[in-house]
């Protein structure tokens, strides 16, 4: 074990010392270049700033990815707290039509230029309850009087406001505007929406990457690349993966809304979990406090409730009639002339029982403070009071069965969604995040990889020099 031949050992150590120093210098240089590149040096951070207004509070942190066809084309810079604002869909009735989304917060205004010769249309949100629309024919003022109810004041204009193709405020047509109404002013059509919460998400889009991913020329202008019909949607895959945004660019005409900001429209999205939750909440909520039906599912539930109300009312009437008959039969302890003539003792006992049961049934059905499912799950119906009620009983049982199955199906969706979210989130979410990060890092590694390649060449040169005995 002792160094009997120390000279070769010393020579080898010295050689390794020099080689090691070269390697460490190369590693340090490559690491420095890599860190600078990953921090945005070497031009990686060049990009254009855009913003999108998403409803509610989107779970998007700084750095969340913006994807186009699964390619990284940008990232979220900042997400502002939600503000109450007005988001309108405006269409220039030209050939072809151009539709885009405008966002207004109190104090904001936007000018629309559909055609130069028709003049400008200016929409301004003066306050949360006042909107003015100014055109060549005058000024219309819309005042918010209740949720989803805006009253139109056309006193500042020479013409009536046209809503859904007809002038309002004449021939009994109320001068009001609700969500979904189409306001026509000259060559501009405005699809009205009520106030809501919107969060502004600021984005940085790497236009060069977008051009490359979209396969368009490098000289394509941003206005063409992100045309007026471009949209952005959440892409969180039911919460399984890391939240991201999906960009759908629309190549073509430039925007006609001359706003202060480069805004991309938010695409409508379907959140399965929220939808199922909403259905369950609506199904289980008391009828008395339920909102107006807005979806097909809610209309079906509402119709069922109405049918139950009618059944309850019918039952109530039958109950009144039977109660009167019972009262008559009870006079003089049931031994009176009328009582004996109308009903015998057994029939009177049955009648009393029927009245009690019917009272129980109708009281349960008529109780609008209970949910639909609670109103329908009535075992007392099994007794059957009258043939009419018995028929209703069968119908209600069927309805109960169908709704019970529907409830089971809807309920079964919840654990599946929860399982998907809870079980896979740690696995796929992390993996997805890891892949996304890896993807991002890999795409940003062009410069560091170059540096690493140069380091590798340097390493090889060092090895060759060592092999041929230079040191």
């Amino acid at each position: 074990m002792t160094a009997t031949g120390s000279a070769p050992s010393d020579r080898r150590d010295r050689s390794n010392l020099i080689a090691g120093a070269v390697v460490l210098i190369l590693i340090a240089a490559a690491a420095a270049v890599g860190i600078i590149a990953l921090r945005g040096g070497f031009g990686r951070n060049r990009g254009a700033s855009y913003s999108v207004y998403l409803p509610g509070v989107p779970q998007l942190g700084s750095g969340a990815e913006l994807l186009f066809q699964s390619e990284h084309v940008g990232e979220v810079m900042r997400t502002d707290p939600p503000r109450i604002g007005l988001q309108l869909l405006v269409t220039a009735v030209t050939v072809p039509e151009v539709t885009e989304t405008i966002m207004l917060f109190p104090g904001d205004s936007v000018r629309l230029a559909a055609l130069p010769e028709t003049g400008l249309v200016t929409i301004a949100l003066r306050a949360l309850d006042a909107v003015t629309i100014q055109s060549s024919s005058g000024i219309y003022t819309l005042n918010r009087r209740a949720t989803n109810l805006w009253l139109v004041d056309a006193s500042g204009s020479q013409e009536r406001l046209v809503v859904n193709g007809q002038a309002i405020g004449v021939r009994g047509r109320p001068g009001e505007v609700r969500t979904g109404d189409l306001i026509g002013i000259g060559r501009v059509r405005i699809e009205w929406q009520d106030l809501s919460d919107y969060s502004r998400v600021s984005l940085r889009i790497a236009l060069a990457k977008l051009r490359k991913a979209a396969g368009v020329s490098d000289t394509t202008s941003p206005r063409f690349l992100l045309g007026s019909r471009s949209s952005i949607a959440m892409a969180n895959a039911f919460g399984l993966g890391k939240p991201a945004l999906r960009l759908e660019p629309s190549f073509g005409r430039a925007a006609f809304a001359m706003g202060p900001d480069s805004v991309i429209a938010a695409a409508p999205t379907v959140d399965l979990e929220r939808t199922v939750q909403g259905m369950l909440s609506y199904l289980n909520s008391p009828a008395a406090v339920r909102r107006e039906p807005a979806t097909r599912f809610e209309r079906v539930v509402s119709d069922l409730n109405r049918s139950l109300d009618q059944i309850a009312e019918l039952g109530g009437r039958i109950e009144t009639i039977l109660a009167r008959a019972d009262a008559v039969s009870r006079e003089q302890g049931g031994q009176g002339m009328v009582g004996r003539l109308v009903l015998d003792t057994v029939a009177r006992r049955d009648l009393n029982s029927a009245v009690r049961q019917l009272s129980t049934v109708t009281a349960s059905i008529a109780d609008t403070s209970r949910s639909l499912l609670a109103r329908l799950k009535l075992d007392t119906l099994e007794a059957g009071v009258t043939r009419a009620i018995a028929t209703a009983d069968v119908t209600l049982k069927r309805a109960d069965s169908v709704l019970g199955k529907a409830g089971v199906v809807v309920d079964s969706l919840r654990p599946i969604v929860a399982t998907v979210r809870d079980s896979l989130a740690p696995l796929l979410g992390n993996a997805n995040g890891l892949f996304n990060q890896g993807n991002t890092v890999a795409k940003g590694l062009r410069v560091p990889l170059g540096a690493a390649l140069i380091s590798l060449v340097g390493l090889s040169v060092t090895g060759i020099l060592k092999l041929i005995g230079v040191f």
Partner: protein, 293 residues
Amino acid sequence: MGASAVGVGRERAREPLRVRGRNWLRGFVTRVGHLWVENPADLVRFSARLLGAWRSVLLDLSPRQLGRTLWRFIAQTGRTFLRGVFEVLGLGLAIGFGVGAVARAVGPALQPLFASIIVAVLLRDAIPLILVVFLAGRMGGSIAARLGGYFGQRPGDSPLVSDRDLTQLVLPHLVAGTLTAGVFYGLAAYFTVTGYLTFGEVQRFLADSPDWYFALDSTRSALGIGLVKSMLFGTIVVYVAAAYGIQVRERAEAGVRRSVDVQDAVWETSATVILLATGLSVLFWLTVEAPLR
């Protein structure tokens, strides 16, 4: 003697911190040079020597020597197989039962995801990588230690390895390593798939047959890639171990630090093999289409 030893210890303890730091730094930089330059250079030198020994290979494969050569290959393959087969069986069963239990826990809604993505990734990427770690430790370390520590067992042994010795020492290990890695991969993949399909239940494991799963195109594709990777990794394990082992043996000509060099060769074999296998896996991974990438 004791006082002298204490005195030496005190003498060493009195070394200034600056000197000790400088010595440590010098040793560290030397080690870096050894790992990143000397070892790759050894691999290149070993490859050149192995290519230059083609005449000896032809001689080994000549009709007169073929029987003996084949017997060496078979014997070495058999030894290598027997030394690792039980560990590989345990490895495959553990992976299979583990994945099966997880698949059962997440329920039927997610099992197709397991079958199409996770098991495929296991067969194609994970099992070859796990296998290479096992082979590097078990087979690579053994070869490096045996070849590196060979000198000095008999009087008159020369530390230098001739071309003939080189091929006779290395080729049986190369054949054994490549074949054994392939067989081991097959065993591990079979037990993994069976364990997964039976959801980790021993009774079903013994009764059910996974033939239908192996007949799927996606499974066969993953198995093919995994088999090729495993055999390649097995070759790399033997190649690196032989290169480092023989280099250490010949370096003993200088008569210094032989046992330390052998120890280093053993762990450096594992580290180098795992590094190479990981790099190759990344390259393989880059060839896979989205969304797996």
